[in-house]
Symmetry: C2
Amino acid sequence: MESTTAVSKVLRNAYGASPEMRAKVRRTIDELGYRPLAAARGLRGQTYTIGVMLPDIRNPFFPEILDGITGRLADTDYQVFLGPGGCNDEKAEARVTEAMIDRGMDGIVLIAPVSSRARLEHIATAVPTVVVGRHGHSSVYDTVTDDDVAGAAVLVGHLTGLGHRRIAHIEHHETDPTRIEEMPNAQRADGYRRAMRAHGLAEEIDVVSTSYTQQGGYEGARQLLARPNRPTAVFAGADIVAMGVLEAFAEAGVSVPDDISVAGYDNTTFASFGPISLTSVDQSGHEIGANAARLLVERIADRLKSPVQIKLSPTLVPRRTTARPPA
Amino acid sequence: MESTTAVSKVLRNAYGASPEMRAKVRRTIDELGYRPLAAARGLRGQTYTIGVMLPDIRNPFFPEILDGITGRLADTDYQVFLGPGGCNDEKAEARVTEAMIDRGMDGIVLIAPVSSRARLEHIATAVPTVVVGRHGHSSVYDTVTDDDVAGAAVLVGHLTGLGHRRIAHIEHHETDPTRIEEMPNAQRADGYRRAMRAHGLAEEIDVVSTSYTQQGGYEGARQLLARPNRPTAVFAGADIVAMGVLEAFAEAGVSVPDDISVAGYDNTTFASFGPISLTSVDQSGHEIGANAARLLVERIADRLKSPVQIKLSPTLVPRRTTARPPA
């Protein structure tokens, strides 16, 4: 028993352990190259490690969020590690979040997770958790999101302001009924419908359901081109979707924006490239990330009484792919 | 002494420790919520954690490498965590690599590090290390690179094959003399010069020195446009550089490829987008990542006798930005 008590005391930095005993155990641990994550590093058993789960490292919107997180933590002792969570894959998300918990990370930021609500709450019960880019209230985790309904409204307003009425939307097909109202893609489609109605264009509502991928945009555009009455503007739910739309339109000899206007969402880096110059909606990813980091640090320090929901306002970035409809 | 010996034995899973003693120490550690990364998880004191340092999460080439790494490790117990290393920032690289060592990671993959050779060898002495995207031999770490000299030659050959002679190159300005021959950017510029000479075009060699950024491409293109005898083709050292070139050319009313051909390097996702359709060089990032992961696992298991250097052959991906020079 003596030995385990000694370990326990040293690991806890307990007052009862003599300085000599403490030094001895530490030296043994050091000699073994055994790097204690917890007690040896912080009084509260912290590892000063924060895990950020990225669902898809290719999504060019995530670096902005990440910059916001690391910028906010730059002056702290926290180190950020990213765990690749796979694309729309609940099993991969479970694996990486379990690995984070297993390695004693102090807190976790989940970016646009696709796991069930129950699963997210399970994670948040084990470790302080902030969920980014997913709507819905929880009693155990905090959330930071873009106001996707407002973003869709800003974009529809831009298009109607240019004179468009036949505005179509390409959405990401969502099948899970429990997730549907929490996902940004569903909120954008909902925001589009509401905005169309608000502009008196209920009869023009035209939603094509594919996926938030380049291929999804390509397929969606092909469907829209086959309409007897083609839209004069297409609101793609994400910039990557707009890339597929532009490809399909170029193939079909449709000129953008002369024949049809195209807009995306996310204001990714490539949206600003000269040959693309895509009108988009900026989610202020940096602010989202900074807020997530701030909430997480407060949650780890136990300073938050109840769960917090932060919703940020997106802004329109008009570029060359949107213009007045053809006369 | 007794207690430290007991800890030591248990942590090492030494034969001398009785099962009861082992259980006691482990229980104490568990009670403390002390998650031992090392001995408790593996017989060899492993944490089954691999750190991958990314210098710039925005570089669209890195996801390919990462996919190669995670794909190779998918059937193992290893979990990959990414540490953002900052952009061309030796201090940020030191911070993240120290954090990885400090947390007992079993091995580290450094992607395109900018730190000094001495610093890289210091890291490799502390933990098994594979360096990706940086040339040069070391006695302590393994390397996996693209053959940048061959890549530049393939691209110059493509352009001369189309009939170009005045082919300019935009390089990333390298100042550190110890790093200069190890960096891919320097190798690409070197490969360009060699290839031009091999095609009897030594007098046409024209290198503009800016940076591997969109802005660097823009500035480089402006310099080339001011030449009394403009090039008919521009080989940008990276796709992101080509984006700046296309922007500057569009502004100046220069048509691509009718007036001037443009090519990049890396075959990033956006190079394939319809409105861009950029001729580029594919580094087979997936293969690079898979090889890095394989070497690292073998190095961790102590199966590699001496350092290994793997060099992979890049391939040309011709698209719409390159064509015959104007008559």
